[in-house]
Symmetry: D2
């Protein structure tokens, strides 16, 4: 059953400004783009570059004045999913080169400091079973409170205040996964069921899969419980939210409005 996506946002650039956009469903094997349409206001410059890990594209624009983005897509998902508990951990020494950076601390995910916590709290679990337990622990101990965090909030603060939005839930899961020596990245996405409807964010972890050439497979995990991994359309990935904003402005920018609608056909 395809996923239908409609996203619009508008902003105003008081002076000519470079802006980086990343809002389109990524064309990757597990996501078949059946139809799509991207309309952008006219700009002095517009170029596409590949995004992180070659998942999706970023769009560079240089523009001035009012700028609007209107995006529609119909996406069929063929993601290979299994209960997390079915996956063993991949030993570090078997991890492919491209996953190694996802073991390390990043801006919002200071994983190293959390090693004693995960070792004590999830001591008897490993691999996917540990990730499932971490997901449930976050779900049980955190409260979803729109407006409770800012762009400065990282997992160290979230671990203390125990509230936040999808971004904070994803950072917390990424942090505790990396502290468990499981590669984890941040995924900007669209998903039906997100309430209030908005751009969404989840985590993705790399677990052992003997049937893949790499020896492992990325699996989506949403600690907010709002999105079903089977229905989640990836936009892009990164170390954490620092890497995959739908809008990054390199100069003054007045954000005006946004609306996101995601449904199953």
């Amino acid at each position: 059953m395809p996923i239908l996506i409609e996203a619009r946002f508008a902003f105003h650039l008081p002076v000519p400004t470079d802006v980086l956009l990343q809002f389109e469903a990524a064309e990757i094997p597990e996501q078949k783009i059946l139809a799509n349409s991207t309309r952008l206001s006219t700009s002095e410059h517009c170029a596409r570059v590949p995004a992180q890990d070659e998942i999706g594209e970023r769009i560079w624009i240089r523009a001035e004045g009012n700028f609007e983005v209107a995006y529609r897509a119909k996406v069929e998902l063929t993601r290979q999913l299994e209960p997390l508990e079915n996956f063993a951990a991949l030993s570090p020494h078997n991890m492919p080169g491209g996953t190694v950076e996802y073991l390390f601390d990043s801006r919002y995910c200071p994983a190293d400091a959390f090693q004693p916590f995960v070792d004590a709290r999830f001591s008897n679990l490993s691999g996917g079973a540990r990730i499932a337990a971490i997901r449930d622990w976050i779900y049980d101990n955190f409260t979803y409170v729109p407006g409770s965090s800012t762009t400065a909030t990282g997992a160290a603060e979230s671990f203390i205040v125990r509230e936040g939005i999808c971004r904070d839930y994803a950072h917390m899961l990424v942090t505790l996964a990396r502290a468990s020596t499981i590669p984890a990245r941040y995924v900007a996405c669209y998903a039906p069921g997100v309430d209030p409807p908005d751009f969404h964010a989840v985590a993705e972890v790399f677990l052992a899969d003997p049937y893949t050439p790499d020896g492992g497979i990325w699996q989506i995990v949403d600690a907010t419980g709002m999105a079903d991994p089977a229905d989640t359309v990836k936009i892009g990935v990164g170390r954490d939210a620092a890497d995959v904003s739908f809008l990054t402005s390199f100069g003054p920018n007045d954000f005006r409005s946004s609306s996101v609608r995601v449904t199953k056909e």
Copy 2:
């Protein structure tokens, strides 16, 4: 004139442990490896994976007990270097996809917060001239004090205490460059002149170069003033020091000793 490198380090693993090593001169166009030898203690497992940005390799081992690394290399450098002041800034909208992540905040480099500072302090400068001014500002305002920082120290703390080692100088430069919308990465390296002799770290910034297919070129910058970019042998690159340690242990590890000797033939 080739650079001669001799590096040795030893550690003890009380139990079978996965360890990630990255200490060899990277084979990249600007670095010709004339001769080299890597000797490692025997291990249960040993595998090479490409390192970040395909610069150099990481070595995964799984081993127990005493482990020694002995590395020798003779490297000829053909790095294209010009005074930083000769380089203009590359407009963000012209930046290739692979450089975009180097604009963003990372674990030790919270660049965003430094925008007002760089805008005020280096307001009339851009591109390579700004980088040169940033390098000189760090050199003038920081004191090189071995032991003054820890693995928890990031550029926010260094900016306050104004002392540190090569790692902290590199983080500070990377941070202020990114705050200036200039892509910057962290480079683990060998260089003659480092005192006391040790593994070294510098920064690298991406500036406009109309003669390259990408429109830009990475240039090495060492705010400590100890290493000449012409003689600097890159081991690997990353967002910051979180990404390019010569030794990362995924379990208990007693570090025993290290020695580094770098000379010009």
Copy 3:
């Protein structure tokens, strides 16, 4: 020439809640209260307790529903003021017991870390001359931007972003003074000239004065340049803003409105 103060604020307590208020001009030798009037909504409980360093009072209330505070006062100031440059530093070993706590780190003022900075930047200055230089440095390097900081912002963050409001300016001055081994405290106050009119905050430093029994005297310093120390009416003092809020609620509280008017008769 007396200072006339008019302050009003209102809030709503959805459930019976304990609230701490501190908004009245302190009765201290240098401040003669010529006339004053405090009107509070009725409350289940209302008690006055002495505030920090016996400067001013705090009012505990327990109330529910709408609560309003209306305060008017006419205050004559007889503060002993001299140019900061006239004051020498008091040697630490001569500091009275009550000033010692104002040498130490507090929540928003991590002074210790700033020792290398003040030693390098203000090396040739001591006592009042150093404080004047610190005040001028903050004034020159910071931008007053309402809304740029939050209640989580401390001097470490302000030193990086170099913008803030009176509270941040006061924290920065307190921090750099303590880093210079000069006792410094935070002062909540009223002052004409504050723009937009509001509760104000300044710093106070303890410098040598051979004519006092203590050997020293507190002097007001306002790095924002908005308030004249001669016209500044102290409400209360503390280590930093954590100690002297005009309203601290120990339960849910909807803040409704406030207005402050301070004039010279």
Copy 4:
């Protein structure tokens, strides 16, 4: 049964330096000093000032070269102690003025941020019963690891790494108590049973006691479990460790040695 204390420490001051010492058992009603002897190396200047909350004294010295402190005391304790569970919480609006500052955030105790955590974890408990539960939670979740923390470590970091020394245990308890609107301070002390023998630190909380003029009483709490409140000899109190170090040097200082011995007669 009196407590016998023997403490010695030595340091070297390369240049004439001001130093603040605080190491003697405080003369307070609950602590009767039966005998004591303080021997200090000769110094250019030596003066005693009252310490925080008038509990104990601080000694200012100005000296150069080798400096030694030798302290012996015999102290009889008549502390009024009851199981924590017997104490109700004191309503904020009944708290005396001198306890109010112990509700607020301090350098190492960012209590505000922990409100959601204590509300969730200890929701059904108040007053002394909540403090007992907090003490037990820290004891159960933290590991005592000498050397695991530094003077920069606060309760936010300790809450994540879940290891530390007495100082960190005390900071954590103070933080969670204040987050529960219970005044809490940091107590430097001597106690038998501390292993390895050293200066010790515990927390003290202010709980309701209808038989006291203030309506409340301070009660010692040691989350490390090493010291019995009945045998704990207070040196001094403060907001946190920033306030009560046994040695604070305002200039270069080479610490040489210390030994502490505390026994019951």
